[in-house]
Symmetry: C2
Subunit: 168 residues, 2 copies
């Protein structure tokens, strides 16, 4: 598969990290941070609109922490407006997502749609095809903790149809 | 160093995961999860009181996700009552912590105490000696994302004295 827009977004975020001067130098995934404690201040990581190519409806990503040479998963808050959802996809190193607010939906390929609520933690193992998003009339924010291997963290597939989304 | 109480706590949490029946089977760090999406429901992970041996004041740990065969860092919410803090320690694979609420303090050995606020993300590289906790009169909750290597994620050292804590 060709490099996805989402991957480009992740790379863009990595560039943002590289471009932002923190207290003790830049913090990038490619280049290990200096061996000193560093603070990424609130407000220093711009919100990103998730690409329409891989999502339905309005979805915002707020980066929290990047994967680095030591920790192999990034963290980001993802906010889905009512009815919004990702396309079908898989994660080569798996993904946890933790519902922070609202009401969400998620589905593994071939299984029923599940409703998820604040405090629920979902583990999607590597290679499992799934989608996640908001409920039809309620927004949802989750923290996505996504494993990264060789710079890749997602493989995109087809869109979630309205029929699939509403099959409950 | 001998196995710490905190490590015992982490092992206890792993045992809790093993003992808790989830929708699609147990989820443990040692045994990779089945290749199917799993939900850890809100309310299924008991709160833990952090051991007095390694903390000053009252500190509560709410486990969020365990490290596993794919993602090498666990996540937990840690709530420090006013004045409470960890002992000095280091993390063999580093740690991110994300302030969720309140006002916190953190210090790297030999550097000034820093005040941290909601939305601030701190990266502590492997081997860097530090402590973190609440401000003197304000509680603080952070999400700790702690790298794990060979089942170890922390090495405990001496207590943070009142003189060190108040040196601002």
């Amino acid at each position: 598969m060709k490099a996805s827009s989402f991957l480009k977004t992740v790379l863009y975020v990595a560039v943002l990290y590289a471009a932002t001067s923190h207290a003790a130098g830049p913090l990038t995934a490619a280049e290990p941070a200096a061996a000193t404690q560093q603070i990424i201040p609130a407000g220093s990581q711009p919100s990103i609109t998730a690409p329409a190519e891989h999502f339905t409806g309005h979805v915002r990503i707020d980066p929290v922490w990047p994967a680095n040479a030591d920790i192999n998963a990034s963290g980001g808050l993802v906010t889905f407006e009512p009815g919004a959802r990702s396309d079908w996809h898989l994660h080569p190193k798996g993904q946890y997502f933790v519902v922070v607010s609202g009401v969400g939906l998620t589905q593994e390929w071939g299984k029923p749609v599940r409703e998820i609520h604040p405090g629920d933690v979902v583990w999607c193992p590597p290679g499992v095809k799934h989608w996640h998003g908001a409920a039809p009339h309620t927004a949802m924010t989750h923290l996505a903790v996504t494993g990264t291997v060789d710079g890749k963290n997602v493989e995109w597939m087809e869109k979630v149809t309205d029929e699939q989304y509403n099959a409950r």
